[in-house]
């Protein structure tokens, strides 16, 4: 049984239909990349999965739990699902270490020392142990985004949602963040990744979905999507990406 299952999910903002009858299944330890133009609904789709947005129609099941029947404990659910945003959204009034330990201490009720030692382990893994006591504004964008990933991982989620996490970064900082994501994929983390990094998607994804105007128009293994797309719209999108030198 798949770990994440979206069935017929629709979402509107006023008259604007952002998601239309979306179906998606992700197995445990799978990495699914969502590609598509800005405004195609990738971010909204991710936000619906951890209930930052409510869906108007359809159902979402994560880890055997139906999220869309209104009975789910939102806070408990979110502890299982980490999300990382394009703009990092670190807490500027806290040090790196405090950013990483806040949720484990408050939402998982870990002790100060336990959350601290786990956070330092994580920071060591991402190579930022020496920044533990710095405030986010002292860090580069790439470092901030790695801290944001560590902050999400500190809750030991079963699923990670990455929302265009390299889109705000200077080109030379993209690699350090993608390397970290690659490492997570190798460790077997289940991930849904909205991205504009096509070659990264091709390399790391088990499956790629192409979103167009709120619909998953086409979905399949990366080789097929990138080399032999079935849909005209996918071909057009990829042609523009290649033209821009991004693939």
């Amino acid at each position: 049984m798949s770990f994440v299952r979206l069935e017929n999910v629709s979402k509107r903002f006023g008259d604007n239909e952002v998601l239309r009858h979306v179906n998606l299944e992700v197995d445990e330890h799978q990495v699914v990349c969502l590609i598509g133009a800005s405004g195609s609904g990738k971010s909204t789709l991710l936000r619906c999965i951890n209930l930052l947005e409510r869906v108007d129609e359809g159902s979402i099941v994560v880890d055997g739990q139906t999220l869309t029947n209104g009975k789910v404990d939102v806070n408990a659910l979110r502890k299982k699902i980490g999300i990382v945003f394009q703009a990092y959204n670190l807490f500027p009034h806290m040090t790196v270490l405090e950013n990483v330990t806040l949720a484990p201490r408050k939402a998982r009720r870990l002790s100060h020392s336990e959350s601290r030692s786990r956070a330092l382990d994580l920071l060591r893994r991402i190579g930022l142990e020496d920044k533990a006591d710095d405030f986010p504004d002292r860090l580069s964008g790439g470092q901030q985004q790695r801290v944001a990933i560590a902050r999400a991982l500190a809750m030991e989620p079963k699923l990670m949602l990455l929302d265009e996490i390299t889109s705000a970064l200077d080109p030379q900082l993209v690699a350090e963040v993608l390397n970290l994501v690659r490492e997570l994929a190798n460790l077997g983390m289940t991930m849904i990744i909205a991205t504009h990094e096509m070659s990264f998607a091709r390399e790391v994804a088990d499956r790629v979905g192409f979103l167009d105007a709120g619909v998953i128009l086409e979905e399949g293994p990366p080789e097929q999507i990138f080399s032999d797309p079935r849909e005209q719209r996918t071909r057009e999108f990829l042609a523009r990406v290649i033209e821009a030198g991004r693939l």
Partner: protein
């Protein structure tokens, strides 16, 4: 010219009036400190209540809005009359037998809480929604996100306007003279009525000014610091 000087600034009257006015001013200081402490706490609570999400919180939100509307709109002097004369007239056990000082604190707190609620609210709204979203996405509850992520940033941003409101509160402690609190303005009045000289009012004014100026400069200093920090971050 001489008459003016004599009436408002006679060194002799200044010296004579000083001890009593100073004694009165200490009451102002107490009113101020107690009211400010209460205002800080209540206003924060009401600001948070006003921002509570969901349909269930609607009555609470409405109550908070009514409160701020009423007490921001009512002149302090009327609130002081209502509390200082009205409440004792009610003859309710305990509540109606408090000192005028207590009624003064209550009146000041009621009115200034309404102002400061709005200051806090502006601060809360100035924290970008993505901060709240990031906190909630980590599994923190609404109140945890508020307490640990939103409010610390919000409060830091509103310290200058908060201090401004406190300058207003300091001065308005003189208004509770109308319900018979023996503070500085009252002492000034007592002196002027006895000796037909108004220097005592000037003495009281000097006390208020001496208290306000450092606070005003401190507020300016904080604003300057923040501007510098923001400019440094923007580069």
């Amino acid at each position: 010219m001489h008459a003016v000087l004599h009436t408002f600034y006679s060194p002799h009257d200044f010296r004579v009036a000083l001890p009593n006015v100073w004694a009165g001013f200490q009451v102002n200081l107490k009113l101020m400190v107690v009211a400010e402490a209460l205002v800080l706490v209540f206003a924060l609570a009401i600001a948070v209540v006003r921002g509570l999400p969901g349909r269930g919180a609607r009555p609470l939100r409405a109550l908070a809005i009514v409160y701020t509307d009423v007490f921001r709109g009512t002149p302090l002097i009327l609130v002081a009359f209502l509390v200082g004369f009205g409440v004792p007239a009610l003859n309710i056990h305990f509540v109606s037998s408090r000192s005028n000082f207590t009624y003064g604190v209550v009146a000041l707190t009621l009115v200034y809480t309404a102002y400061v609620t709005e200051v806090y609210r502006a601060g809360i709204e100035s924290v970008h929604p993505s901060q709240r979203m990031a906190a909630r996405s980590l599994g923190l509850s609404y109140l945890q996100a508020m307490r640990h992520v939103v409010l610390p940033q919000a409060v830091r941003r509103v310290i200058p306007p908060l201090l401004n409101d406190f300058i207003g509160l300091q001065k308005d402690t003189a208004l509770v003279v109308v319900i018979g609190v023996a503070e500085a303005a009252e002492q000034g009045q007592a002196y002027s009525q006895t000796y037909a000289n108004f220097t005592s009012y000037v003495v009281a004014a000097v006390f208020f000014i001496l208290l306000t100026i450092p606070l005003a400069r401190f507020t300016d200093h904080l604003i300057l610091l923040r501007e510098r920090r923001e400019r440094a971050l923007a580069t």
